[in-house]
Symmetry: C2
């Protein structure tokens, strides 16, 4: 696929946030310059040669580790679907506050790094530790007069998962400043806020973390503002229609294959269904190999019943655990985790 003319779609300039153009998502791996960017504050400019990661808190031996020392550890490369928790927010009704993400706050990235447990075991985890806190070098005002670091925690078992990585490369190249240079966390299967960029501190905690980005932001709030369940964590099962594009005007038969992607933070995709009649009837799409544990599942559907007029094309995915996309957008006050159906309107002439 030629991506020459594609570019990131600017969402906000300050802080810089930009989406992946949907057509780039048919690539097995999203080209580096088309990977979506989600920033909360100014982008830290860090020098890898001066940077080090502090590992402290409830550990036997607090220590610092340099960029070069980390790269000398066991390396692991994983293709990972990274999705912003606010992806699809713009389709929610009423429109929530927050960055107005369309559907392009998702990318497939080949990350190279080392499993976090390699570093944690060097420090020796105290029996009293219950969580691991990750702090980035990015900090700013979250409400008037209140400044916060970007920080998120993981429970110990998730931190020790062999796919939870400290990462210095994406798509075979060093991380760029906007993607967390020199070092970031990557938590496959979780929305992007867990994959802390510009990582500088890893702290073992004896109490659960209750910072802004875990207890006030990136939480599911109902209509009254009451919090529901855990903070935002796993990526909910979702599918996108990549071709044809929304608003396409086509001659009959010009494009008789509908193509898209599907993914879930809970496991591989088991089935994708497509409806060309507003959800009245659903037909199973063909899953296109390959399938990676944390990647996306590409799919295609032969649309043989084209009639002139306007059509609403919907897709819905089911993962191996039986998690089916809901029939409507999943509204919550801050607009997270919306995995409602992607509705694409197509006119056949």
């Amino acid at each position: 696929m030629a991506n020459q003319s594609l570019q990131l779609v600017l969402v906000t300039e300050d802080p810089y946030n930009a989406e992946t153009p949907l057509s780039a998502l048919l690539n097995e791996v999203t080209p580096l310059d088309l990977v979506y960017v989600r920033d909360h504050f100014d982008i830290p400019q860090l020098d890898a040669t001066k940077w080090s990661l502090d590992v402290n808190g409830a550990v036997e031996k607090p220590f610092s580790i340099s960029y070069a020392e980390l790269q000398a550890l066991e390396t692991k490369t994983l293709a990972v679907t990274l999705e912003c928790a606010g992806n699809g927010r713009i389709q929610m009704d009423p429109l929530p506050k927050g960055t107005p993400w369309g559907y392009g706050a998702v990318s497939i990235v080949e990350f190279t790094g080392t499993p976090l447990f390699n570093v944690l075991k060097m420090a020796g985890i105290s029996d009293r530790a219950v969580e691991v806190l990750f702090r980035g070098a990015d900090r700013g005002e979250v409400e008037p007069g209140r400044n916060e670091w970007f920080a998120r925690s993981l429970k110990i078992d998730m931190a020790l998962n062999s796919d939870t990585l400290l990462v210095w490369e994406m798509n075979g190249k060093p991380l760029t400043p906007k993607h967390g240079h020199p070092m970031r966390l990557v938590v496959p299967g979780w929305y992007g806020m867990a994959s802390v960029k510009w990582l500088t501190q890893v702290t073992l905690l004896t109490e659960p973390f209750s910072g802004f980005f875990q207890n006030e932001h990136y939480v599911y709030l109902d209509d009254e503002g009451t919090r529901e369940g855990d903070p935002v964590q796993h990526i909910r099962t979702r599918s996108l229609i990549v071709s044809p594009v929304d608003g396409a005007v086509l001659s009959k038969g010009e494009l008789d294959v509908i193509e898209g992607i599907a993914w879930s933070g809970y496991g591989p995709i088991a089935q994708v269904d497509v409806s060309v009649d507003r959800g009245d009837s659903w037909l199973e799409a063909e899953l296109v190999p390959p399938s990676y544990p944390h990647g996306v599942q590409r799919w295609r559907f032969k649309w043989s019943s084209q009639t002139p007029g306007r059509h609403t094309v919907l897709s819905r995915a089911t993962d191996a655990l039986g998690n089916l996309q809901p029939a409507s957008q999943r509204w919550n006050r801050l607009g997270y985790g919306n995995n409602g159906p992607h509705v694409v309107v197509v006119s056949i002439q």
Copy 2:
């Protein structure tokens, strides 16, 4: 405004349904060939010279009146906002069944005809009459094995309203077949289903009408399928953003005026507000004269705070009775009367 390149937007071919392109709505009157078309069945082909209207039921003197005889009565011309009850259905979530209307199932038409009461008084209304039933020449299958005429009723007071017209001209030209030739009813302020096309029978009823298009279709059903209130009647207060168009990509300052229209079936528009920050804050738009009782109110808003990135522009209208558009799409099972905010996404580069 040049409309040369504009054409109706096909929604369904059989029956034929098509939308007005939004940009045509900035005209004071919608050009005849751009007026939206809503058909339930095949379009009847009627010969005006052979056509007559039967007036019967609970009247003193049942009679028929010819096309020429009707045109010899007092004539009245009104600019009327005609809107399909399903307009905006495609924005509802979950997507209801039914014709997938976008926002263009609305037009402003200059209708010429005679007030219905001129005909009713010729017949003499019985004291026992409670409703007037209007039947079109269009008929077809509404469910397998069940055929119905298109028919709707009005209560006597609404039928006698001096703006309820029997109409033979639109925009100064005879009605075309797809708009109800030779004669249709026009009920200003009500959704289009009340303005029965291809009218052939007017029947005074002593019991309320309970036909398909009044009791099963064109009713508001909740999530469980329970009917709420009256059948679909008055047009709910609504506004549309006509310029810029949804998805527009603009240079900063290229277009610093947002323009649109607003209307209500309950009365004139008192105020239109615009938000360029996802409904966080609202600013009042300027209402552009003229203002007609049943027409649309044009409005404009100077957008002086453009910053690079994606913006969601929303409008909301309030009519003179204080009816304000709701903050979200008004979902109901059959997808009628949705007057939620029109959200237009604009990218400033």
